[in-house]
């Protein structure tokens, strides 16, 4: 399944509906769907935040390959934004040392089994991979060339 979404926060409702429709097709189950919703929201809102100058629609593509769910999110004609280049979030820091930003990318790394970033022809593409039916907090994420 694939669909284009306007690059603003109002699209989030439609994105959640799109993910629900995908769930109805492939029966992900709540333990898989919920992390996918959280992670897709994080990537989408970061694309809005880091590439404010373009108004191109964002493409979300969803596929299932065996036990893996693949979420590919493309921001067209964009500046590079590599979520894996964001400094790690210290989840043990005291409250006074905690920044309010950076939690989303941290959660992405916790919930997804693999995160890949590509920047080609001025398109920023983030691919998230989630193995259905399990949690990914112990799994290392890898950067693909």
């Amino acid at each position: 399944m694939k669909k284009y979404f306007k690059k603003n926060l109002k699209s989030l409702d439609r994105i959640f509906k799109f993910l629900d429709d995908f769930d109805r097709q492939v029966s992900l189950g709540n333990d898989t769907l919920r992390p996918i919703k959280i992670s897709t929201e994080e990537v989408f809102t970061n694309f809005i935040k880091y590439n404010r100058d373009t108004e191109n629609d964002i493409l979300i593509e969803l596929t299932r390959e065996g036990a893996s769910i693949i979420i590919r999110i493309t921001d067209f004609d964009a500046e590079p934004f590599d979520p894996l280049s964001i400094p790690p979030y210290n989840e043990s820091a005291k409250i006074e040392d905690r920044p309010v930003g950076g939690i989303g990318i941290h959660l992405l790394k916790k919930y997804m089994d693999d995160i890949r970033y590509e920047y080609t022809n001025k398109n920023s593409i983030i691919t998230l991979i989630k193995h259905s039916g399990e949690h990914s907090a112990e799994h290392p994420h890898r950067r693909a060339k």
């Binding site: 989840e91 939690i103 959660l107």
Partner: protein, 94 residues
């Protein structure tokens, strides 16, 4: 959509979905809180980092005044996201 209100016991009741579109609405309530308060998550289905950011910013403000938010009735999915974010170390959860 997020449902948020302060009830007659002064608990902040959350319900629905606390995502990036609901931040302003949430601040309208959380910015009114000037002393320690319970936040009831019983009817909340979903929270993302945007919602966590609102809670963190409010907790920072209150802690500076020796006050705090205490979180109540988190479902297992929301407990998990709090644990992953390390928020279980900066919020009292009952």
């Amino acid at each position: 959509m997020l449902n948020i209100r302060i009830d007659e016991q002064n608990e902040i009741q959350l319900g629905g979905r606390f995502d990036a579109t609901q931040v302003e609405k949430a601040y309208e309530i959380f910015n009114q809180v000037q002393s320690s308060a319970i936040v009831n998550f019983k009817s909340l289905d979903y929270i993302s980092s945007a919602g966590l950011g609102v809670l963190l910013k409010t907790q920072k403000r209150l802690k500076n005044q020796a006050q705090e938010l205490v979180l109540k009735d988190l479902n297992k999915h929301i407990r998990e996201i709090f644990k992953y974010a390390g928020f279980d170390m900066i919020f009292k959860i009952i």
